[in-house]
């Protein structure tokens, strides 16, 4: 599904990604861990098409297509979704309107009919319940004045409504209480299917107890310095990154 080869990227001349290689197949869950500032969000942003980064080398293919050639919205149409580490507040933009327009934009791009108002309402209510997002928040402006946890739930709600094929969750678990973590993990698991893949960026092993990864990668200084199974996350939890970083430097 996704194939990243030697991806190198910089911001304002400062190298941030220094040759990332990653293969993601359908039905897989990849966890990306790594110290602060190692480039995890940068990778997520580049995959979803955010501007401001210069890709100096490497390639990214998504279903055989050059992903980096596509506009941000085209990637969304083709099923790429990023749940952001810091979801943006959109004052004045109604959450429900936003969701419906997003859904319809994606449907339209795929040549499908727009969803009618009744089915939409039904679906959004159902999904909101699944992620335990207060319905009142649907009527408010997108993320404006939402608590940290509410913003994350809202991201997951969007993901569940848009049903992406490749979902990238950037620290969706950060700032969540234990129950919320569980709810969100349950939501994500509901979406798992043989034709979907997940990339989960996290600092904590706990999330991975709920969303079981097939692979765990450690990103440091813009490189994947170690990949392993889910037991790698446990090892990291115990020992931290130090031992790996030393190993990588050597």
């Amino acid at each position: 599904m996704l194939s990243i080869k030697n991806l190198c990227a910089s911001v304002d001349g400062k190298a941030i990604l220094n040759g990332i290689n990653l293969e993601v197949k359908a039905d897989e869950v990849h966890a990306i861990m790594g110290p602060n500032g190692s480039g995890k969000s940068t990778l997520a942003h580049i995959l979803s098409g955010r501007g401001g980064y210069t890709v100096s080398d490497g390639e990214v293919h998504y279903f055989g297509q050059n992903l980096l050639d596509l506009e941000t919205e085209e990637r969304a149409h083709k099923g790429v979704f990023l749940a952001m580490q810091y979801p943006v507040e959109l004052p004045g933009v109604n959450n429900m309107t936003f969701l419906r327009e997003s859904m319809n934009a994606i449907r339209k791009a795929r040549g499908e009919a727009e969803i009618d108002a009744v089915s939409f309402m039904k679906r959004v209510r159902h999904r909101a319940k699944q992620v335990k997002l207060d319905e009142k928040l649907l009527k408010r402006s997108v993320n404006a004045g939402f608590s940290g946890g509410e913003k994350k739930r809202n991201e997951i709600l969007q993901m569940m409504m848009l049903e992406p094929q490749l979902a990238i969750l950037d620290e969706t678990d950060s700032g969540l209480d234990i129950d919320a973590l569980r709810t969100i993990a349950d939501g994500v698991n509901l979406l798992r299917s043989p034709d979907r893949a997940l990339i989960v960026v996290t600092h904590y092993q706990r999330l991975l107890d709920y969303i079981e990864p097939d692979f765990v990668h450690v990103l440091a200084s813009g490189r994947i310095i170690r990949s392993g199974g889910k037991e790698l996350a446990l090892e990291l939890e115990e020992k931290g990154y130090e031992w790996l970083l030393e190993g990588a430097a050597a």
């Binding site: 969304a76 959109l90 004045g92 933009v93 327009e101 997003s102 402006s141």
Partner: protein, 439 residues
């Protein structure tokens, strides 16, 4: 006085001479005094602070004529599409002339509505005495011209303690026939003590290319404890000129909630003179403006806290695109004796193009020491992060931009009590933002 002004002075004099007795006699003195005032003032110019950024050169070049029109005609079907929610009364003005056959009045007790022309014809002193009572004979040339050659307008009076629940609508329709002319309309609204009303003013052009000049004055008195909701939507053709001076006198414990949308006009300027004359009153004024290629839109606010314990809040937001230009001038004056005043003034501008321009000048002049006042101005662009967020959810650039623009203006649109107007304005904003993409 320049050549253009003397042409207007001449025209005003002739206009007054030609008035039939029934239209003329009651206001002749004021009309003549106003003509004299116009002769002294001439047209406003950039040397005057209030007109520094609002050039009238383009307006004068149009060579608008003052004509004495007595007739305008529209079929009922022509206005049907512009009618929204049910009203307590609707006064329709076609090319500035009151149309009894298109208007409605449910005949509620305590509500009196009529036309200024009828009041002049009947010599209704109680109405005519009020003409100019707030505005004077004109503090700038255009206002003086309005007084000199005013022709018609609405006269609305609500008796003590009467609450009119459904809106009273003033619907102004400009036809193609108005092209090339200036028309002078003047409204007078009086709410007696404890009265409450929801007043809607709409300005529409039937012909998208008609080119005329609406030079209006509106005088509103709120009695003690009265309450006025005032919803105004200016959607003149993009080649029209629109000027409106709104004068507001607010007695103690009265409440004014005004909201404005200025979308149309090649050139449009609205001035609010709000004066608190009794304690415990409150004035809320919101506005939104859109200005694109070839448009200038201007709001001048002048809120006078002349007595203690009053509150005012103003919030105006504008979207500028193409080579659109906006002027915002908000002056809040808190006088020495106006202790315990609260005044908050905001203006935000969203610039969608490099060629767009805004001159914004919020001013608080505070002479009292025990007050709560604040003001703020922003001039910004669409947020890249917000655009990315929307696009990452599948919206293309234009859709994302439109949604953000709507979001920017929603706060103001939501101040309109009329659901019909809220929906209509959102649609218009979306349309304008779609058009913006092409230029």
């Amino acid at each position: 006085m320049n050549a253009c002004a003397s042409v207007f002075q001449q025209a005003a004099t002739e206009y007054i001479d030609r008035l039939s007795n029934c239209e003329g006699e009651w206001l002749t003195e004021q009309r003549q005094a106003a003509t004299q005032r116009f002769a002294e003032l001439g047209f406003p110019h950039a040397g005057l602070e209030a007109w520094r950024y609002t050039s009238i050169e383009g307006l004068l070049q149009q060579d608008f004529k003052i004509t004495h029109r007595t007739q305008a005609f529209l079929h009922h079907e022509m206005i049907q599409q512009f009618l929204g929610e049910p009203v307590a009364a609707r006064l329709v003005f076609v090319d500035g002339i009151y149309q009894p056959n298109l208007s409605v009045h449910t005949g509620q007790t305590g509500l009196s509505v009529g036309s200024l022309h009828a009041a002049m014809a009947a010599g209704d002193r109680s109405v005519l005495r009020g003409v100019g009572s707030l505005s004077g004979i004109g503090d700038h040339g255009f206002a003086a011209l309005n007084m000199a050659t005013l022709q018609d307008g609405a006269v609305i009076q609500v008796s003590t303690g009467v609450a009119i629940r459904q809106p009273i609508e003033l619907l102004h329709m400009a036809t193609k026939g108005l092209s090339g002319q200036v028309q002078h309309t003047r409204h007078r609204v009086v709410l007696e003590a404890g009265a409450s009303v929801n007043l809607v003013e709409r300005y529409l052009s039937l012909d998208s290319e008609s080119n005329y000049f609406n030079n209006m004055v509106c005088e509103i008195s709120l009695g003690e404890g009265a309450s006025l909701v005032h919803q105004r939507a200016q959607e003149e053709s993009l080649t029209a000129y629109h000027l409106c001076d709104v004068h507001l006198d607010i007695q103690g414990d009265a409440h004014y909630q005004g909201v404005n949308a200025a979308l149309g006009g090649a050139w449009s300027r609205t001035t609010f003179h709000a004066r608190f004359v009794g304690e415990g009153a409150n004035c809320e004024l919101d506005g939104l403006y859109l200005a694109g290629e070839g448009q200038l839109t201007d709001f001048h606010l002048n809120v006078d806290h002349s007595v203690a314990h009053c509150e005012s809040r103003e919030n105006f937001k504008g979207i500028l695109y193409g080579a659109g230009k906006a002027v915002f001038d908000g002056l809040i004056h808190v006088r020495e004796q106006a202790q315990k005043s609260q005044a908050h003034l905001y203006n935000a501008n969203l610039m969608l193009s490099r060629r767009a321009e805004v001159d914004t000048k919020p001013q608080l002049v505070i002479l009292a020491d025990d007050v709560k006042c604040s003001h703020g101005t922003t001039v910004g662009q669409l947020d890249d992060q917000a655009l990315f967020y929307l696009r990452s959810r599948g919206l293309d650039k234009d859709q994302a931009k439109r949604l953000l623009c709507l979001g920017f203006t929603n706060e103001i649109v939501d101040r309109f009590q009329s659901e019909y107007l809220r929906d209509h304005l959102r649609e218009e904003i979306v349309k304008r933002m779609s058009y913006e993409r092409q230029v």
